[in-house]
């Protein structure tokens, strides 16, 4: 922890200043067809200062953290802010300056394992997979951990230390049928270090068996029919809908630019059974996949209720945008590395569970699809979204039918949410999400299964 060291530079702060020491440590291992083709570690750390003056931000950073360098970057950040303030005109007032003290450490308390044990773990998974399923054309096991350790000292007496680790295992299986290649992939893991999540390879054999079964079904499956249909989006997909299609349009910087959500505050944007929240740190008294207790501007992070009973209620913001929107900062200002400035980012965005069972939702559809897995998603200013669907089934007369091959679904989220007629009573959190918006950042998203209407890009 570097808090005491950073505190010793507080006398240098002439204006609103954030001084952050951050280190990201990333371990990545990749076993392809039994061969370890990646065995690496990346540690990127350093100090940054951000100064706010007359409506302008100056930012400077360095991987070095000796006293002279810290003095230099605090001075440089101030000079950068002054340079812009001298060239332009914009003073919207004083940023919120409420100080907080916080220490939150999610490091494992177990003894750290060696690299050999991690590689052996992957090899055991690979041995199990390839010996049981000898017809696989390729198997790919990727272990990726990211420890984000941050120390923040501000001119307004915020002193915060957080250590938030995430470890995920990505499994990809490939088969060939009639000369055509098919893949299936899954992501396992989430909040925590390796030792807390991957104790025994046998714990994952069941998931590997399910993946192989689905891969085979997909290879035998049908192409869904292109068109506009009634579907069930599984809980693994509805979280991406919450994040990509709704979440981004309700980030205050995007709202200020003119995203579609700007016009809809306090208006109906969904059926009344839809509730959507960006959770800061905890859901149901448990830590979310990416818990944020304090953001990188020093704001204590609060949950943001975005949609309540179908009505758009709030946006996510940072200090400057809170000032412009005449509201309080929500704690959504996050930076990825030490040399990145905080941006308005989501944390753990989820549609809340409803009252229906998945079985009764399937039984209610005469002709449609149950989409279960996705590998990516995108959305834009209009809230139009696209998700790649990697597995699912057709639904005929209230029953699951044949599996489907890869497809894509799309829709305008604020229209699609008005077609939501049933929501399941379960909750699934996706823990491996990385969101790109100038910088990458880990995010969580979750939800139940929802019944709605979307466009399908089949054949």
């Amino acid at each position: 922890m570097k808090l005491d060291y950073l505190k010793s530079f507080k006398d240098l702060f002439a204006d609103y200043t954030e001084l952050r020491w951050q280190e990201n440590t990333n371990v990545f291992l990749k076993l392809l067809n039994g061969t370890l083709i990646e065995n690496g570690k990346r540690t990127v750390g350093g100090v940054s200062a951000r100064v706010y003056k007359d409506g302008f931000f100056g930012f400077a950073s360095s991987p070095l953290s000796d006293a002279d360098k810290i003095k230099e970057i605090v001075r440089k950040a101030g000079e950068n802010a002054s340079l812009l303030a001298g060239l332009g005109r914009k003073d919207i007032g004083k940023l919120a300056q409420e100080g907080h003290e916080l220490i939150k450490d999610f490091s494992t308390v177990k003894a750290r394992v060696s690299r050999k044990e991690m590689i052996d773990f992957l090899r055991e998974l690979d041995n199990y997979t390839r010996s049981k399923y000898s017809d696989l054309k390729a198997s790919n096991f990727v272990l990726n951990s990211l420890d984000m350790e941050k120390n923040l000292v501000t001119s307004f007496d915020t002193y915060a230390y957080t250590m938030v680790p995430r470890t995920i295992l990505v499994i990809v299986m490939t088969i060939e049928k009639d000369g055509v290649i098919y893949d299936y992939y899954d992501v396992i893991g989430g909040l925590g270090q390796y030792e807390d999540l991957f104790t025994d390879p046998e714990n994952f054999y069941g998931q590997i068996d399910t993946m192989y079964k689905r891969l085979r079904e997909k290879a035998e499956g049908i192409y869904p029919e292109a068109g506009y249909k009634e579907v069930i989006l599984d809980s693994r997909i509805s979280g991406i809908l919450a994040h990509e299609a709704i979440g981004h349009t309700t980030e205050a910087d995007f709202v200020k630019s003119g995203s579609i959500a700007r016009d809809y505050l306090n208006e109906r944007v969904a059926t009344e059974i839809v509730n959507l929240v960006d959770f800061a740190a905890e859901y149901d008294n448990k830590p979310c996949p990416v818990p944020v207790y304090i953001d990188d501007e020093g704001t204590r992070a609060e949950d943001v209720v975005i949609i309540q009973d179908g009505i758009l209620k709030n946006y996510m913001n940072n200090k400057e945008l809170a000032l412009e929107f005449n509201t309080s900062p929500t704690g959504n200002a996050r930076a990825y590395t030490f040399s990145d400035e905080p941006l308005v980012r989501m944390r753990n965005t989820a549609i809340l569970p409803g009252e229906n069972s998945l079985e009764e939702m399937i039984a209610s559809i005469e002709d449609g699809y149950y989409f279960i897995d996705t590998n990516n998603g995108q959305a834009d200013a209009t809230s139009e979204f696209m998700f790649g669907v990697t597995f699912g089934y057709e639904i005929k007369n209230g029953k699951l039918g044949r599996a489907i091959k890869d497809t894509t679904i799309s829709g305008v989220a604020f229209d699609v949410l008005k077609t939501v007629s049933m929501i399941s009573n379960e909750m699934y959190w996706s823990s491996g999400g990385m969101c790109g918006k100038k910088q990458m950042i880990p995010v969580g998203f979750g939800g139940p299964a929802i019944k709605c209407k979307v466009n399908i890009g089949g054949k």
């Binding site: 067809n33 302008f56 060239l87 893949d183 910087d253 630019s257 590998n375 209009t382 998700f387 466009n455």
Partner: protein
């Protein structure tokens, strides 16, 4: 460079049979326009030190961003431990293409006041010319990059290079109507030209405003032609090239497996990698595997001429290391005007942006056609929305009707318009 020699010596002393070390030093100055204001100036000074060790054919790598003795000693110690505990792979090794080269392309033309002026003019001109356009953001950065590489076989490379990079995102907005987000990025040698005149920007800005009047295609589903714009072609090519890289060739799942010197795509399609092109602002003199890149064909008139494997991938597959790892893509110009391409379309769309996932391994893809136009009987009819397309990546490049003679220079790629056939278009 003395630091790298010390690192190599330390790797050897601690037990590495082979080692390689590279250092990148980046100085970056970034100015950001957000919601009509230039309100951030960010200065970064970063080091990335990469260390690779091979012990008894077992490999590990580590990257740190510190260059002091203590940090390096700690990293080397951990690296050696990780390599000793890794897995034997006969393909592990460091480049033996021994060269001592120093590439220099620094202009040292950082000018913060000119950056401010160009960015301010961009904001003023675009706002005045397109009142219904929202500039979501624009970033102008100057980057100076020093690279150094050494390995235990005697390869000794260094380069320095600087350039500007401009990126912007925008969309149309009128009353309650919003058009899809659009964006582009351009690398520049200097700031001689105004930003709003660069590359495809005039076309993209106009397109975003026109899409405020976008319509759902009347014809709900049809099979037709596709004219892919330069911005969109660049992103689609990355999917195609993933079949020429390490992962898919080592796994044996590449569509282009065993296809070297075979005609696999349409004869009208020629694609080159030009890492040291005079035409492009970005230079990619050598890659992280310590091999000097060269300009060469990837596909020549539809014939696969080179894979894009790195040194390890080359040894693992027994194929040649690529001329580059896929940098600075240049598609050879065709002989059609864009007007001629449109005139030859009976029914189809101009695809300006594709919002879709990575195509399946068999090349099948589907996604949303963004910022695109409906074309019928040789005429652009109207901008479209909520339209999906599906097809096959490889079929697309095997059925090319024409390539434009005009190309867009993005500074890191040179792309024409490309006309292909047989795509399924569907709308709500």
């Amino acid at each position: 460079m003395e630091l790298l020699d010390k690192c190599l010596a330390l790797l050897k002393e601690k037990g590495a049979d082979e080692g390689e070390v590279s250092l990148t030093h980046v100085q970056n100055e970034e100015m950001e326009l957000k919601n009509g204001n230039i309100d951030l100036l960010r200065s970064r000074d970063e080091y990335y030190l990469n260390l690779n060790a091979i012990i008894e054919k077992k490999r590990a790598s580590i990257q740190i961003n510190k260059i002091d003795e203590e940090a390096i000693a700690e990293a080397v110690s951990e690296l050696i431990h990780n390599a000793e505990n890794s897995q034997i792979d006969e393909a592990n090794g460091v480049s033996d293409q021994v060269q001592e080269r120093d590439f220099n392309n620094c202009k040292d033309n950082y000018d913060p006041e000119l950056m401010y002026k160009r960015l301010e003019n961009f904001n003023k001109e675009v706002t005045a010319a397109y009142p219904d356009l929202v500039l979501e953001g624009a970033v102008l950065e100057y980057q100076k990059r020093y690279n150094y590489y050494r390995n235990s076989k005697g390869v000794n490379l260094s380069s320095n290079h600087d350039n500007y990079f401009f990126s912007t995102s925008f969309f149309g907005r009128r009353n309650r109507e919003t058009s899809s987000m659009n964006y582009t990025g351009i690398a520049l040698e200097n700031l001689d030209e105004e930003l709003y005149e660069l590359a495809s920007l005039p076309y993209l800005l106009r397109e975003s405003v026109e899409h405020l009047d976008a319509r759902i295609i009347d014809n709900k589903k049809f099979t037709g032609d596709l004219i892919i714009t330069p911005d969109c072609l660049r992103s689609i090519l990355y999917s195609l090239l993933s079949h020429l890289g390490n992962d898919m060739l080592i796994a044996g799942t590449s569509y282009f497996k065993d296809s070297l010197d075979k005609k696999v795509l349409d004869g009208k399609f020629t694609l080159k990698t030009e890492p040291v092109s005079d035409l492009l602002a970005i230079k990619d003199y050598y890659s992280g595997d310590g091999v000097v890149n060269r300009n060469d064909y990837i596909f020549a008139e539809g014939v696969l001429k080179n894979y894009l494997l790195d040194f390890y991938g080359s040894r693992k597959t027994g194929l040649q290391r690529g001329p580059s790892l896929g940098s600075n893509l240049v598609v050879e110009a065709g002989d059609k005007s864009i007007a001629e391409m449109v005139e030859s379309v009976e029914r189809g769309i101009i695809l300006a942006r594709f919002s879709g996932g990575q195509p399946a391994s068999n090349g099948d893809f589907s996604g949303v056609a963004k910022n695109s136009y409906y074309v019928e009987d040789g005429e652009i009819k109207y901008p479209i929305k909520e339209t999906m397309i599906s097809g096959n990546l490889f079929s697309l490049f095997q059925n090319i009707m024409g390539i434009s003679k005009d190309r867009i220079n993005f500074g890191y790629s040179l792309m024409p318009f490309l006309h292909a056939k047989e795509i399924v278009v569907s709308s709500r």
